[in-house]
């Protein structure tokens, strides 16, 4: 009786190990493809990409900075950022910045916001996130208007909009704090 159970469990574990090894590579490939696609969406064309992790001034986890070069010149930085302030959990986004710190574009990576309300942060669902294009955080405030900022909130989903601003601001502040290091990278 116990033997049968052990055999069943062993067979199951073996099958799963096999499937896991078979799908491991496609899973990593599809994650990598999603990351590349997001980087491509928020940056102009580049020929070389250098990735590094930097700790934000506030927040629990490091951000991934993808420095994009074209003919040896730094043309932009794609920052994979996050916020824990979402309406339902963590929101992740990719923020493209020019070497001067101006926002090129923003695209969401992962969220669990309410369908029909908070999911308007997705580019395909609404053009809400277009207002970040060309936004200069050094001159305007990355906050929703209710909080005295320059970003229009999403109707009935202010929490989500506020969280998205928080994620983008985290990327920008980390960029500013490490600007010297990032610019130096250019001269290598």
């Amino acid at each position: 009786m116990v033997l049968t159970l052990i055999i069943v469990a062993a067979a199951a574990s073996f099958t799963l190990a096999t499937v896991y090894n078979l799908t491991k590579e496609p899973i990593e490939r599809s994650r990598e493809a999603a990351r590349q696609e997001a980087i491509g969406m928020v940056l102009p064309a580049f020929d070389r990409l250098v990735s590094k992790k930097l700790m934000p001034p506030s927040g629990s986890d490091s951000l991934e900075f993808n420095l994009a070069f074209d003919n040896g010149n730094l043309i932009g930085v794609a920052v994979s950022t996050y916020t824990g302030m979402g309406y339902s959990g963590v929101i992740r986004a990719m923020v493209g910045l020019t070497p001067d710190g101006e926002i090129i574009d923003v695209v969401h990576l992962e969220h669990a916001e309410t369908p029909g309300l908070g999911d308007k942060i997705e580019k395909g669902k609404s053009d809400w996130s277009d207002q970040f294009r060309g936004f200069d955080p050094s001159e305007q405030a990355l906050r929703v208007r209710q909080d005295g900022g320059d970003i229009d909130a999403i109707t009935a989903a202010t929490i989500t909009a506020r969280a998205y601003c928080d994620a983008i601001e985290r990327a920008y502040l980390t960029f500013e704090a490490n600007k010297q290091e990032i610019i130096n990278k250019e001269e290598e």
């Binding site: 799908t23 899973i27 599809s30």
Partner: protein, 198 residues
């Protein structure tokens, strides 16, 4: 019972969601759109058919006392396989179904069919039963997802039907319960009509 009847019972007469009220958690949790409902329904169908096949094959080898734990192991394996394959090839659907994929393992429907049908019947009948029940489940989920998507977002399978936002409450949690309530009532009426003509 003919195989055709065995197959078709899952749609209206013994629909797992609308009549037997099984597997309601995913039925309510993922049906914010018709696409999600269909995806969840098909994933469940895959697990249901696969576990029905294996259970009906090994039913004579398993002592009665460890039957349930063995079935659970079989089902959990297929669920994990579904999870891994979906993450590899359908990452977008994987993200939107989230927690509910590992939870297929506790879908009373899957365990119920393994225990009540597959462990007592031959493999072919078990496949038909799994297909019928699974597709009936997918049918109910797509229906509920479609209803909520149309009323809540004014879209169907992502295609915009009318401009504007729709009644958002249907996309939110309360709409799931209320929408399902009315679908169950509707199915009750249809079933009664069918019984009268039969």
């Amino acid at each position: 019972m003919g195989q055709l009847q065995n197959f078709s019972k899952g749609f209206i007469r013994e629909n797992p969601v609308l009549v037997l009220l099984l597997g309601l958690c995913p039925a309510l949790g993922v049906t914010t759109s018709a696409f999600n409902g269909l995806g969840m329904g098909l994933a469940t169908t895959f697990v249901l058919v696969s576990s029905n096949i294996v259970v009906s094959l090994i039913k004579n080898l398993i002592p009665a006392k460890v039957r349930i734990p063995s079935f659970i192991v079989v089902i959990a394996s297929f669920v994990t396989i579904t999870q891994l394959v979906m993450e590899a090839y359908l990452p977008a659907l994987f993200d939107s179904l989230g927690l509910f994929i590992p939870l297929i393992v506790v879908n009373c429907l899957v365990m119920g069919r393994a225990e009540a049908f597959a462990s007592k019947n031959d493999t072919f009948s078990a496949i038909i039963d799994g297909l019928g029940m699974g597709l009936g489940f997918a049918f109910a989920l797509t229906l509920l997802g479609g209803l909520r998507e149309i009323l809540g977002a004014g879209e169907f399978f992502g295609l915009s039907l009318f401009p504007g936002d729709g009644m958002l409450v249907f996309v939110l949690a309360p709409g799931a319960f209320i929408g399902l309530g009315y679908l169950v009532a509707l199915n009750n009426i249809v079933k009664k009509k069918l019984d009268k003509t039969a």
